[in-house]
């Protein structure tokens, strides 16, 4: 059974915790991966940008996979793609992207924070879902826009890069287009792991572009419907919380039992109050296998071929 931690970048008291080297070492030792939900335009407490917080953690951690949440509908896919690629370079292959659809009042709040802009979706469900799919497609295509061997440093031809190994992506969507190539060389994993958060009310079709799906604490019933996604994690609440859903009782036996839920490959433990719940939680978890390579390898995902290379050739 795989263990993930689900944190929110805006949670009060989180930054001092993560600044503690001992706590970070405990995360490295017990969790396969960590998600950092982003509080983009959340009223009252938007908190730090999760993608940047992830890069800060990435430079100080050693093992754990890091997936920052990104509200892709309200950002530039180009900047998101280079930001995650950079996280993969900083962590030498431990990066992922948590696609974070905003729900309820939040799309309208996010839209108010960036303004009504051409090229961005209207804040209603169908437009947001369509835009999410397009944003993921662009982010992924940009990761492949540099071949792994594009940098040649060839003194004979006096060329640093080989333009034949760089690719325009020429993406044309409903509302926007992106030409490419990326400005950032291909990340070490080729394709950092793409994950998405789903709640009970979401259309499971949104998970089509993802390799990892996190099912909210009330959405466990969706698991069997997600056969297309290789890995499904179910959320388990830790600590006092009014939220309904699966809840950890503090025992290892219960974790093992929850890990046998049909269609579930792992659990994401979500502490209600990290300052109170995180340290005891980490102390109770069994250690993970150390030094198992990139995040893709740890999760048993296949290597990511580059779409621009003809494998048959």
């Amino acid at each position: 059974m795989r263990i993930a931690l689900g944190l929110e970048a805006a949670q009060p008291g989180l930054l001092p915790l993560l600044a503690d080297p001992g706590l970070l070492a405990a995360i490295d030792a017990t969790a396969e991966l960590l998600t950092l939900a982003d509080g983009f335009a959340q009223p009252g407490a938007d908190g730090p940008d999760a993608l940047l917080l992830a890069n800060w953690l990435g430079a100080r951690s050693r093992q754990v996979g890091i997936l920052p949440g990104v509200a892709v509908n309200f950002l530039e896919p180009f900047h998101v793609s280079t930001g995650i690629a950079t996280l993969d370079h900083v962590t030498e292959g431990r990066a992922g992207l948590l696609v974070q659809p905003l729900r309820g009042a939040r799309p309208a709040q996010a839209r108010r924070a960036i303004g009504p802009l051409p090229g961005f979706p209207e804040p209603e469900a169908a437009a947001l879902a369509a835009d999410t799919a397009e944003a993921i497609a662009v982010i992924r295509a940009l990761w492949d826009s540099w071949q792994d061997d594009a940098i040649i440093r060839d003194p004979v031809s006096q060329r640093f890069v080989d333009a034949e190994r760089l690719h325009y992506i020429r993406f044309q969507g409903q509302r926007f287009s992106v030409l490419g190539p990326s400005i950032t060389p291909r990340p070490p994993q080729g394709q950092p792991v793409v994950a998405i958060d789903l709640q009970a009310s979401d259309d499971p079709a949104q998970a089509a572009g993802a390799e990892l799906v996190f099912l909210g604490a009330e959405a466990t019933a969706l698991a069997p419907a997600l056969r297309g996604a290789p890995l499904v994690f179910a959320d388990v609440l830790v600590g006092d919380s009014a939220r309904p859903g699966l809840r950890w009782d503090g025992s290892a036996g219960q974790l093992a039992a929850l890990g046998r839920l049909p269609g579930v490959a792992g659990l994401r433990l979500v502490p209600a109050d990290p300052a109170r719940d995180l340290a005891p939680l980490l102390a109770a978890l069994p250690p993970v296998r150390p030094g198992a390579g990139s995040l893709r390898q740890r999760l048993g995902l296949p290597p990511a071929p580059n779409r621009n290379i003809n494998v048959a050739a």
Partner: protein, 420 residues
């Protein structure tokens, strides 16, 4: 009177035509280990800040991706935030466009960098060429050229409101935004604002809104004139002359003797301008395919093409009067007997402090004491070890002369810049 203190910024040599990749000592420009080595070195040298340039589309020449110079860089804010985790004092300044960002997301990211670094964030706010760079962004070519500075000014004003924390609401020509920021007040109040004002409008914007000017006027006399001009503009915004620091960009070449340093400088220039790079550079001015010309031979007799669209895209450089530039360069080449490559080496050179560590330190100090600068943004020619020798040999001379800190006295970038 106490001597003026020298401010030193360290530009990471990545995607620039001064970065030499063909040298055996040249390492990766993308691996985090390179950034870490660079940052740790300049922090050991007590530099004020690290400086990253920006490029949001790969450069093109003759409709094709440019292959000769270093290409490929990380996301600026992401790598600076990663560096915040492995450094303690050095400032972290990124160049970020106001054209293809929006105020709330970018101000929030800069606030995050300031928070996670304990007050070391800086922002070189620039504008970007619309159609070329816009092809990579949702909004595309959305901004008329004439409005670029206006948007930049409104952008910075919106960012300042967001950095204060709490509710923000902006309704201006370019923005209609509102919300609430939970991050303010920030460790240093607001990230340090850097601007590369050149035109009259640019200088005015710097005088009204910036903390630092990154200037190209690095020679003593030109520097003094620029310095006096810009500092003279501050009073009308109610600012003291010291409120705006002027930092020209410069390169350096060190040797144990003057002769050795000169040889090294010449060698670096040859590495920076390969034969093909020389032809490519000339093509930017001539606006023609010159690939049939020999870089070691004379300049083309044919005139530049002033009718066609620009051959080169994605560079900061602009040559508005191609014919006059070509005429001037032919005169220089004929007078001094220069080949194409030698001419390009001559005309593309920028300020290069060349000499023994002692001489370079004295020259830097002289520019500062004579009000040609408040310091420099230095750019070495090698990644990642380009500052190793400078930190070991030049910094101690500056420290012994009492014009550069022996240790950090402050923890924020503002604290470093206004320490004295």
């Amino acid at each position: 009177m106490a001597k003026k203190q020298v401010i030193l910024g360290a530009q990471f040599p990545g995607v620039n035509n001064f970065t030499v990749w063909s040298d055996p000592a040249a390492g990766s420009q993308i691996a985090f280990s390179s950034f870490r080595h660079f940052a740790e070195t300049v922090e050991r040298g007590k530099f004020d800040f690290i400086f990253l340039a920006e490029g949001l589309r790969l450069r093109e020449q003759k409709g094709r991706l440019h292959e000769l110079d270093v290409a490929g860089r990380p996301n600026t804010l992401a790598v600076l935030t990663a560096l915040a985790a492995v450094t303690q004092h050095v400032g972290l300044v990124g160049t970020l466009t106001t054209t293809f960002n929006e105020p709330y997301p970018l101000a929030r990211q800069l606030a995050t960098l300031d928070l996670l670094s304990g007050g070391r964030a800086g922002w070189n706010f620039v504008t970007s060429p619309g159609a070329f760079t816009g092809a990579n962004f949702r909004r595309g070519d959305h901004l008329p050229h004439a409005q670029r500075y206006e948007r930049a000014r409104e952008f910075v004003e919106a960012a300042r409101q967001i950095w204060r924390g709490g509710d923000f609401a902006v309704l201006s020509r370019h923005f209609d935004i509102a919300g609430r920021s939970g991050l303010g007040p920030l460790p240093q109040g607001a990230p340090v604002l850097v601007q590369a004002g050149e035109s009259d409008a640019g200088r005015e914007l710097a005088a009204s809104h910036a903390d630092v000017i990154y200037s190209r006027h690095s020679e003593l006399e030109a520097g003094r004139a620029f310095y006096a001009d810009v500092k003279g503009r501050l009073a009308r915004y109610g600012r003291r002359p010291d409120a705006l620091k002027i930092l020209p960009g410069a390169n350096f070449a060190l040797g144990d003797t003057e002769a050795e340093a000169r040889d090294k400088a010449a060698q670096i220039r040859l590495q920076q301008v390969s034969p093909r790079s020389a032809i490519t550079f000339l093509e930017q001015v001539w606006n023609r395919d010159l690939s049939a010309y020999d870089a070691e031979g004379p300049l083309p007799a044919i005139d530049p093409d002033v009718e066609a669209d620009a051959l080169s895209q994605g560079r900061a450089m602009r040559y508005d009067d191609r014919l006059a530039t070509a005429r001037k360069w032919r005169e220089i080449a004929e007078r001094d007997g220069l080949s194409i490559r030698q001419l390009v080496i001559r005309v593309t050179g920028r300020k290069q402090f060349t000499g023994t560590p002692q001489a370079v330190a004295l020259e830097i100090e002289r520019h500062v004491q004579e009000d040609a600068a408040d310091g420099f943004v230095l750019a070495p020619h090698l990644t990642p070890g380009g500052f190793d020798e400078f930190v070991a040999k030049v910094v101690p001379v500056l420290q012994d002369r009492g014009v550069f800190r022996r240790d950090y006295a402050a923890s924020t970038l503002r604290g470093h810049l206004w320490a004295a």
